[in-house]
């Protein structure tokens, strides 16, 4: 894995029943007063040893990534909704940017277990931004893209999306997780080709269970969705993407 991506596995002490797209609020039991809030992290694996994939972007993710073996954590999970099932006759096309792979790899595994091999477009800045790419290739028809061309096709994930949808002759459903701008673009392309698209929202969160109202996302129909309760997996058409 690249230097800033880390896999963290917890001993849950019990079976965690969770589905692809759901997330956990994670906080170090020894953090004291700072960092104060738990951090939302997509579940990569459920079960007795649930796992998450971490990209270091600040203090919280740094502490998670550098946790020492046996370090105690408080986890609230599973939270939020799952990716909606892919209707029969439609091919799932999963579009992942960087650490956005976590809920999509979980999904690809679930699909594979049910006999469906999803198409996966997996992009990042360079080869080191494609953590878990071998695991991804195992369970999906994966195409890798990097902006610097260090692995797979040179370019952004969106570059291959149109043709991937074309290959299914419009009989596909798109699932995307990654940076906002990537998801907005994926949503636009999908809409243009008339295929449904679902995205997993990333917003700051304080609680993760609907009480702080800190996770709004602008809705096309006016007002706001709340990422933790109405999502994180939502119909891309419902979102009023920032320009």
């Amino acid at each position: 894995m690249g230097p800033s991506y880390h896999l963290l596995t917890f001993e849950a002490g019990q079976e965690i029943v969770a589905f692809p797209g759901q997330f956990a609020m994670v906080r170090g039991a020894t953090w004291g007063q700072a960092p104060l809030l738990p951090r939302p992290m997509s579940l990569l694996e459920p079960g007795r040893r649930p796992a998450i994939l971490i990209k270091i972007v600040g203090e919280g993710s740094r502490r998670l990534a550098h946790a020492s073996p046996g370090e105690p954590f408080d986890l609230l999970m599973p939270l939020g909704n799952r990716w909606s099932p892919c209707p029969a006759g439609q091919r799932p096309i999963l579009v992942a940017g960087g650490v956005g792979i976590a809920p999509l790899l979980f999904f690809a595994r679930e699909l594979a277990a049910s006999g469906v091999r999803a198409t996966m477009l997996y992009g990042g800045r360079s080869a080191s931004d494609l953590p878990l790419s071998e695991e991804v290739a195992e369970v999906s028809d994966a195409r890798f893209l990097t902006e610097d061309g260090s692995r797979g096709t040179r370019g952004r994930v969106t570059a291959l999306l149109e043709s991937a949808i074309g290959e299914t002759r419009g009989k596909s459903k798109v699932y995307a997780c990654g940076p906002d701008r990537m998801m907005a673009k994926v949503a636009e392309i999908s809409r243009g080709l008339g295929v449904p698209c679902e995205v997993s929202l990333e917003t700051p969160m304080a609680c993760g269970y609907g009480v702080c109202l800190g996770c709004p996302v602008k809705r096309t129909s006016g007002g706001y969705l709340y990422a933790c309760m109405d999502g994180p997996c939502v119909d891309a058409a419902a979102i009023a993407w920032e320009p």
Binding site: L36, P204, C212
Partner: protein
Amino acid sequence: MPFDQTVNIGSLTLKNPVLTASGTFGYALEYDDFYDVAALGGICTKGLSLTPLVGNAPNRICETAAGMLNAIGLANVGVEAFCREKLPQLRARGVTVIANIFGTTVEEFVAIAERIEKDEGVHALELNVSCPNVKKGGLLFGCDANLSAGVTNAVKRVTKLPVWVKMSPEAGDAVGVARACQEAGADAITAINTIRGASIDIEAQRPRIHHRTGGLSGPAIKPLALRIVWDLASALDIPIIGIGGIATAADAIEFLLAGATAVQVGTANFADPEAGAKVMRGIAAYCEKHGVAVRDLIGRVKRNGP
């Protein structure tokens, strides 16, 4: 019970001194998975306005050192939906409900109080005259003794419920504002609401909170809150409900010793949904260890010599 946990806020007796704070506990129904919220001294609802509000644009929150900023903008279902959809469920559970209410004018405060008066199940009103995240009302009321007293008086006239007034730490003269509310008939003072802060993303060179400023809460503000509560408890006759950065029973006990009659747990609910229950149990354990009823802790801090 050998070490009585009940406290009185005016005519209202609470099972114990621990409440959960407005805006940090939803409408309390969200906690069914975590614990029995009816065991709490009480729960304060999200701030209720006359009509539903959608709230501010994102980002609404960001973390700061041992604290957080929020500018939710009082997103809420409105008093009507609250009374119809939430209140019956809270009543069924036997929850002690404090309705936190917010208006941009005195008339709005009055109208909300009148609507709540029509139903059973609310045990007190908490007037939010100190919200820093709205364009009108809010701080404007809370920092001015006359305006705060005016709202208090007007609401008192239309309700039989006890009225608590929630103070801003930004009032230059917190004691003066609180005293004016006391004279206007307030049954208790809740202190403190958040204090306005800001944070800037230096790479984007933009405010981290869309609203530019947000209210600071969490452990960072505990010393400030405790000092204000201590000042208020020393100066006023009505009970003070302490709030600001309380995360543990030890934090809560500091407020009781300083003179608070009850406390509220706010931001701490986010990191730990069971924070309120834990504070409750911890206070009971402290009372047992020290062999006192909880009301004997109130204001018990010793003064130092000169």
